[in-house]
């Protein structure tokens, strides 16, 4: 009885969260990826705790309730790829590829891709392999001998926004935001890949253009 109620409650939450998203970050942004393992929520790129490093965060499968997070998985048929342009032409010169296999996340690169654009081939062998952190356990990380750090697993969605109020504004039932607002993404999780690499591996002259792309087989 209690269990049934819980399931109904989570289903209702999922419905509320999953439906009618107009402006998230990139959560549920397009019909072809909505609700799939290729659906990206956010990309973050920032200087690491060690400022000689750059951190790449790629998040997918957004709006996971705690219940849903317990069974959420990465997909062996999905590649999560950071694309890095270091020459200013918005064409990738380097890629960092994340491929899930047998409970571990394999990280390839940073390395020159075999081809640019809308297809991806795993280049070489993994730079670092990290077991995917299970829900409710301490974050498992691994570092290669070359200084590349990796993490993969569920995390709190770092994105914050009063999306519900924004819906009211665009729907014409409110004329502005509330103060304070309410974070619609509070209490929800994502599946996250975090890779930290020495800047020296990125052949940068000071500026990079980075984007995140997912692929399936």
């Amino acid at each position: 009885m209690k269990k049934t109620r819980l399931i109904i409650a989570s289903a209702a939450t999922a419905l509320v969260l999953g439906g009618g998203i107009l402006w998230a970050s990139d959560h549920n942004d397009a019909p072809n990826v909505k609700g799939k393992s290729t659906d990206i929520t956010d990309l973050y790129v920032f200087q690491g705790e060690n400022t000689a490093n750059l951190v790449f965060v790629g998040n997918v499968q957004g709006l996971l309730t705690p219940t849903a997070t317990g069974t959420a998985k990465f997909d062996e048929n999905t590649m999560i790829e950071f694309k890095i342009d270091n020459s200013g032409d918005n064409v990738e010169d380097l890629v960092i590829q994340a491929v899930y296999k047998g409970g571990k996340m394999y990280i390839y690169g940073p390395v020159k891709p075999n081809a640019t654009g809308n297809t991806a081939t795993v280049v070489g062998s993994a730079s670092v392999v990290v077991p995917v952190t299970a829900y409710g356990t301490t974050a498992v990380t691994n570092t290669s001998s070359t200084g590349i750090k990796a993490f993969a697993g569920p995390r709190d969605d770092p994105f914050f926004f009063d999306l519900d109020q924004f819906h009211k504004i665009t729907g014409g039932t409110a004329s502005g935001f509330n103060n304070p607002g309410t974070d619609t993404f509070a209490g929800t999780n994502v599946m996250s890949v975090v890779v930290e690499v020495p800047k020296s591996m990125l052949n940068s002259t000071g500026k990079l253009n980075v984007w995140l792309q997912t692929f399936s087989k």
Binding site: W23, A24, S25, D26, D29, A30, P31, N32, V33, K36, I40, D42, L43, F46, Q47, L54, V55, V57, L64, T78, D85, D89, N90, V91, V99, G102, Y106, G117, N118, T121, V122, V129, A139, T141, S144, S145, F151, R155, D156, F160, D162, Q165, F177, N179, G181, D183, F185, N189, S192, V194, K199, S204, G206, L208, N209, W211, L212, Q213, F215, K217
Partner: protein, 182 residues
Amino acid sequence: MKKNLSYSIIALCALTLMFSACHKDKKVTPGDPNTGQVFSTPGDQVGRPGIATVFVGAADKDNFNTTTPSTMGAAYQTKFQTQLQAYNGGAYTTNLLGLSAAAFTGVLSTDVLNVSTTGKTTYYDGTNVLTGRALTDDVIDVSLILVFGGPDASKNPALTSDHVNANDKPFSTSFPYEAAPW
């Protein structure tokens, strides 16, 4: 205790590395299960936060996800400019960055995240503009200000902040930086 154990494992790993290879770390060849595998179907694609959802019309959303960034400007700048003016009832002039509608949407329509490798990485902190994206960056307020706030961020004050200024959990200063899940 647990920490000691992991230190021992790391030490053992390092020691093993000297003789052969640390299997857990690197050198997974031969036996890398993914080498050479082809992922031929593009799925989602993101540079800056919220761009596809704010500026790309429903009919174009899948197309935008598979348009390579080097060709995005030509395909989408005009459409973005139309959308920007629609949000502002046709009254957009410039924004806090001094960008005209054409210039602003010219930047936004090439959906890549600009990142500095020589200094502070932030979406916008009042001084640095588009030098990365930190976890703590209030990218929504930045976007709202640039879209609705006019030349000095004072226009449409009810629309230039959602007044959610931070995440629901604190971030860590150490790898992997993001907070544990709920």
